[in-house]
Amino acid sequence: VSSVRGRIVDIAAATFGVSPEVLSDASSPDTVENWDSMNHIHLIVALEAEFGVSFEPDRALELINLAEIEKAVHELGGR
């Protein structure tokens, strides 16, 4: 079973159409080309489906780097 972090990276890579290797803690809408508002929605939907969680609206908008996403998934008890 891959780690929560690894699965987040895979989902972000699939959503933005980039290779997993280019994604890091610091990856954000400023550094990832396809991380626009529509793909952010796709990312939220994909993360919620993967981890069986539901982010609150404000929290969903804060999830703009991978470290923050991992924190939020853990907070909500995502597995």
Partner: protein, 611 residues
Amino acid sequence: MSETFEQSERSVDALATILSEVDHRPASYLSGARKLAQLGAHPNLLPIRVAVLSTFTFEPVLPYLRVEGARRGVGVHALALPYGQLEQQVLEPGSDLFHFSPDVVIIAARIEDCARQLVDGFVALTAESIEHAVDAYIERVASLVRAIRERRPVHVVIWNQAPLARLAAGIADTSLDASQQGMVAELNQRLALAVIAAGATVFDIARIATEIGTVNYYDGKLEVLARIPLSGTAQIAIGGGLARHLRAIVRSPCKCLVVDLDNTLWGGVLGEDGVRGIAIGEEHIGLAFKAFQSAIHGYRDRGILLAVASKNNEPDVIEAFKTHPSMVLKWEDFAASQVHWGDKATSLRAIAEELNIGVDALVFFDDNPVERGWVRSRLPEVTVIDVPKDPLQFTKALDACGAFDQLALTTEDRKRSELYQTEAHRRALQSATGSVEEFLRALDMKVIIGDVAEPTLPRVVQLLAKTNQFNMTTRRYSEPDLRALLARDGTIALWMSVSDRYGDNGLVGVAIAVREEPEAYRLDNFLLSCRVLGRQVERALLCEVAARVVADGGRTLIGELIPTKKNAPAMNFFAETGFSQFLDRDNLWQLSLSNGPPSPPTAFEITRGVA
């Protein structure tokens, strides 16, 4: 084989690989959609341009639509216009909508967005104001359809109204004189009537939302964040549903379901377990197989032909169908059967030949993955269903493939299976009698020919869309297109129905002639359903067209022949009926009517019909 064949094999693989990597998860869809976009045009994807007008953000559905379309052989290139712009896009000649040159325009206008008073304020409304709001909504959508179709001959698809997320009166909704749920149901019925009359089809989002459940369909967070009222689950389901609708628009439905028997129509192996040992009936897993047979019988009622391809001893199989008390399907329900130990690709080819349909009109359902793989490799044009292990999931897999989807059913569809059963009797008669002439006389045929008008229009449009073999021009027309053609001065449009001692074949022939010059008419369409091929009825139809042309003052009938991959049976028709080919034009033929129309065949009775 040639290099091009191998190349096309490779790119077919590329498509299959992309699709095999998509699972149920949204991320895998998004990744698959990107790869499909990079793959571009593909021989197995029928391209279609789709524009969406909506009252909410539609864009996130597009990747799901692309993947689900590709799964069904449709290459969807879609554009979602900015939400809330309906009239702006439709009425502005240079709008992004028309600039995109769509083949299909989808309109998704929710009452939550554009008839708001019918939603949360429903309880405060009078019956008149409810009626007024519903009328206004329907008229708005119907006039959008008319406006689009006046500008471009595109296919328009209208979303109906999904069940509301909440009811204004709560649990008291059913106590209202006119309930809110009843209002939505009535609105959907009236909307369907109005938009179909305007030349559109209805996408049944209400059914999709019901299947998912409103709790899972709506997503309040996505709505506040981005004006997307649809959950991820709903987005995927809508992608699949719309893909089925688009497939039914651009591709002819398959015509025949070919089923295996052992562990497909019943549990167990007939040859080993015996008639009493197979699982079908009122208990345990036998119920699942019985339910599946019942669903298949429903397909037969819709006009889908049934056939058997099974490795078994035929007498055992016939005995099982005739003597097992729990069989829902009867041996007579199958229009063709191949029960022997030969390979199934050969069996499928033989079934197609016997039923006089293309191999690409077959859908193959077999629990054995080896047989499926074999048929896929030998006959890639056959739709092979990925049969799940659990027999309880069989019906769902069959329904979801969408291969038999058609946007409307006609009376002929509902009678078709019986027609093919009697066809077997006809063939027996043909082998028992001598000459063709004798056979035709013995058939006791009655041919009726009449003018195409409103009552026959839907069936005529369907024949134009579905007939591939005896079809001189393969020109397809929608109902509104055909209506426009009929309204033109100098158009002669005839239908022909054929019955015989074994039954009524229904409406099986169409001829449309248009006046090109004062004395010259061109056969714009001339077709015959393959079920009455080889009976000279096409000559009767031609003679009637010629007689009408002469009656209207014409002296020449020009025949047009556009060769396709499938219309070989039509190739010699003009040569055989006295037409001469234009020297300089391969596809044009002419028949002089200066000495009157040719005489019709005498082996059967021809009458003129009405309606």
